[in-house]
Amino acid sequence: MLWLGIYLPFFGLEVARRSALHGSMPVGSMPVGSITDGSTQSRSGQDRSAQVVRQPSPQSADAGDHANGAGPEVLIHDQVVVASNPAAQALGIQPGVSLATAQSLVPDTLRHFPQDRQHEQARLAFLGEVLYRFSADVSLETPDAIVLEAGRSLNLFGNIQTLGAQVTEACRQLGHTTQIRAGATPLAALALARTQASTLPQVALDRLGLPDKVVERFANMGLITLGQVMALPHRELAHRFGRDFANHLLRLTGDLPDPRVHIRPRRQFSQALHLLEPLRDKAALQWPMTRLLEELSQWLISHQLGAEAINWSFAAHAAHTRVSMPIRFARARQEVQTFLGISELKLTETELPEDVLSIGLQARRLRPWIGQATTLFPDMPVVLPGIGTGSHQGSHRGDPVECTELLDQLGARLGEQACLRLQAIDCHAPELAWRPLPLQATSSSRQPHLPPIRPGQRPLWVFTPPRPVAIADLTLLDGPERIQSQWWEGPVIRDYYVANHHNGARCWVFVEQTGLTDTMHKWYLHGYFA
């Protein structure tokens, strides 16, 4: 068994900034690229030589999230600083000082965020689900760490370094700085991740999360590191410091089993962002939407699902005006860029409330994810789903035909009702012999039974409804073909003729047999043979 401890050193700050930035962000000017993982990296970089599996990632594509080090920032609870970012620490602001002291140290540029425990827990649970794709056994260590069992995932990921790098990258994309270490037991992995010590005996006792009293008693005895304590006889330790502490040590070393509560991922995706200040610009919506979509994408990947339909909801004030924007896709999707592109198209066509205060995103119609139908050899024939066995000619250069992409785009921008597919129906009444199919309908490979008409017996263009036409303009060529309506729809009898209009068009005209005298007959143009 190999465990991966993931410690999020600035978790509280990141969560608080995340929720605060949505609202306080000035419209139109997003904090782009104020990124530095680097500063935190260098802080912990001195012991990278050891078992460290984190990767430095100097360029972060994620805008605005990694603001660690952008300026001094602190997290406060009851007017006391509980966490500070590297920039604030460099200025001497340590956790424990009061907000007033901190502000006196850094008069102007200090930003402070209130701590939000509830939010942190929700976010940690979400992160746990994101990491669920790396391992089936993921457990949360509130408030700011996650442990996952890595041993059974090594076959897939190759080695622990690769797995660690991928975990780091996943967290970084979501805007979180991580310290990752592997260990033989969950507690050992966590202890190493928290303290960044190279081996377990070097771990400082005060970073283990032990009660302050215990740490102080050890300190008074001159015991600073875990190694010193573990060298002591176990029975006496248990006698002096209690069974809980002794068991903690045993679990740390693996001498006592450490059963953990593993997370169970949610079955549905429904997330909402509540902004502090309303957004009035559609362009500014892009950023929070991207963020929600990233979460959706992570969720879908970890569940091996694809979403065939998603639903946005934009609300001005929680209940007053709520606009929902459903989007459907021709096939199940996972990628942020696809979701975002189609959502943007749809957004231009959607009327939003004046001020958007909260944005919600739900995944509808989830489908098991089937891997991309990309071929290894681009020139090979591609058999697309729902099309049958037509072999695609190798003449098309570039990517394989991405049919559904276009359908999604058209459906989003023009509206679903603007696009239709056709279906022929075996019915002798001309108006009933076809049917529009919705865009997203799965095309059945089975060809429906077609009406027995000769090629060219019916016109290619049909007028709905038929137009009156003057018989004087027509030269009848063929007919009549008598067509009666279905008996239960009332007696309509039409005699159809093929005719040439004097302007050159070949027409399909009919005269209705109503029992009137011949001079009363009205002629109708029903189609062009074109």
Binding site: D281, K282, A283, E344, T348, E349, E351, I387, S391, H392, G394, S395, D399, V401, E402, C403, E405, L406, Q409, R413, L414, G415, A418, R421, L422, Q423, H428, A433, L450, R454, P455, G456, Q457, R458, P459, L460, W461, V462, I471, L474, T475, L476, L477, D478, G479, P480, E481, R482, Y497, H501, N503, G504, A505, R506, W508, D518, G527, Y528, F529, A530
Partner: protein, 298 residues
């Protein structure tokens, strides 16, 4: 420096070189053109068929003279390949049973009405800012009338369809009053990018305007409206690697009735007409046995 036959042959193989004696068929790569199915037309079309990576214009005086049947043989073949056939803003309803009876796989056909906006943006107190990525902003005309917006949607649809490569053929009926040379140039680029044949149906008056389409055809009916079968007069106004050709008379394959039938009935009609008074109703004179349906669906 010696110029060998080999050098010249290599030079002549260059695709950009046009040889006056040939209509370009020699240099065509497979898939560059799709035979039209009308041998007379194929002989004169560059590459021996419809160009599959360019904009073609069909200019006609009157809808319904046979312009679709000119494309039917190509449509039959293209519909059996895994790409869409897109109809953008058709003036009437493409009739599914007729298309199917000609052998076209109608499940490959997609009809798009881009012009009448599905949901017009309502006038609000404050103009709603649009995404900068939206095509309206990109092309940037000040005119935002509903007609112009509809035209922009149409162009957007055509460009997406061409560029995506998901369509083998796009049949489009654009808004003639707003179509500019620049629009066609963009479509031409999109068609080449996605290897899509974009066919624009335009009125005959459009021939007076310049256009960057690779192929321009003027379609008109034969001289006699009573002509037997259905004939189409095709003038190639512009083509790649060739001069204009006028007066190709094409007999459409899928005429509404067989030739023999028409002949028989025409004979009958003519003989009847000479006997009747000139002001009589031609419908009745044509077919005295009107009460009996002539054909039973087989």
């Amino acid at each position: 420096m010696t110029i060998t036959t080999q050098t010249i042959t290599t030079l002549l193989e260059h695709p950009d070189l046009w040889l006056a004696g040939r209509s370009g068929r020699r240099h065509a790569r497979p898939g560059d053109s799709e035979p039209s199915g009308y041998p007379l037309l194929d002989r004169h079309l560059p590459g021996g068929g419809w160009s599959m990576d360019a904009v073609s214009e069909f200019c006609l005086l009157q809808t319904g003279i046979g312009e679709l049947q000119l494309l039917v043989p190509a449509l039959v073949r293209l519909s059996r390949k895994p790409r869409w056939i897109l109809w953008v803003n058709p003036p009437f309803l493409p009739y599914a049973p007729a298309l199917a009876s000609l052998g076209i796989q109608i499940n490959r056909i997609l009809v798009v009405q881009a012009a009448p906006p599905a949901q017009m943006p309502k006038a609000t107190s404050r103009p709603v800012p649009r995404f900068s990525s939206s095509p309206e902003r990109r092309s940037g005309p000040a005119d935002q009338s509903p007609g112009q917006q509809a035209h922009q949607r149409t162009l957007w649809t055509l460009e997406q369809a061409g560029r995506s490569g998901a369509c083998s053929m796009v049949l489009a009926w654009p808004d003639e009053s707003r179509l500019t040379v620049r629009d066609i140039q963009r479509l031409q680029l999109a068609a080449r990018h996605g290897r899509t044949m974009i066919t624009l149906f335009r009125p005959a008056s459009a021939l007076q305007k310049p256009s960057l389409a690779a192929l321009r055809l003027h379609l008109s009916t034969g001289l006699n409206p009573l002509s037997i079968g259905q004939r189409l007069q095709v003038d190639i106004v512009k083509r790649r690697g060739g001069w204009p050709i006028n007066g190709l008379s094409i007999e459409l394959q899928s005429a509404a009735v067989s030739r023999a039938e028409v002949m028989a009935q025409l004979e009958f009609w003519r003989s009847e007409r000479t006997m009747r008074l000139p002001d009589t109703d031609p419908a009745r004179t044509l077919l005295p046995e009107q009460q009996t349906p002539s054909r039973v669906a087989h």
